[in-house]
Assembly symmetry: C2
Homo-oligomer: 123 residues x 2
């Protein structure tokens, strides 16, 4: 190792962008990516047919709506949305989240639309 | 979905055990596991030949020693140890961490020894 290794600091990475619902990659592990996002308001209903998706709340509160239930997450909590399950993330106030999913996952899954973000944008 | 989905709360899961260097699974995503651990003192030098390994610090401070450098992580920071890289985690005081790695990874990697923990023990 030729350069001193540096920690990846969530708050520092969050400070590099303002866009909502626009995940930024901060790390890769094997073929998985760790992405941070700022969210507020309601996202679109969508699903990921081929992969589970992890949501970890770093700051604020996140609601994940399912067709027949919801789950509320606060800072220090996580949830795994199973593959193929329709969900709609939402936050009443600005919320900071960490996502873990395979490289190449599109944020809007099967839904597409104007909230679809570029993939592989790094913070 | 027949039962109300529940968030996975890191602090609640941490409260279910005291053993040091003994990771507990709290969630699975595809073929990956999220594990929490309490650590204090020095672990053993080891490597994982087949996988990267993610360390996220939830509380306290963690030092990861490499053969020619070290990285210091505090709460809100993460690091990805690349596959095949020898490392030795250590913490001067009690530290709480979240690990992400493929199902089946042994905590002591290639090193073995008395700190080797059972796999797939859930919190």
């Amino acid at each position: 190792m030729t350069t001193a290794p540096k920690p990846i600091n969530f708050a520092e990475k969050m400070a590099t962008f303002d866009a909502l619902w626009s995940p930024r990659v901060i790390a890769e592990m094997n073929d998985y990516q760790f992405k941070i996002a700022k969210v507020e308001g309601e996202f679109v209903w969508h699903q990921h047919a081929d992969t589970d998706e992890v949501f970890i709340v770093l700051d604020g509160e996140l609601t994940i709506h399912f067709r027949e239930s919801t789950v509320q997450l606060r800072a220090g909590e996580m949830y795994v949305v199973p593959r193929g399950v329709e969900h709609k993330p939402a936050a009443e106030r600005l919320c900071q989240i960490l996502l873990v999913e395979p490289r190449g996952v599109v944020n809007t899954g099967d839904a597409g639309g104007e909230l679809t973000a570029d993939r592989d944008v790094w913070a």
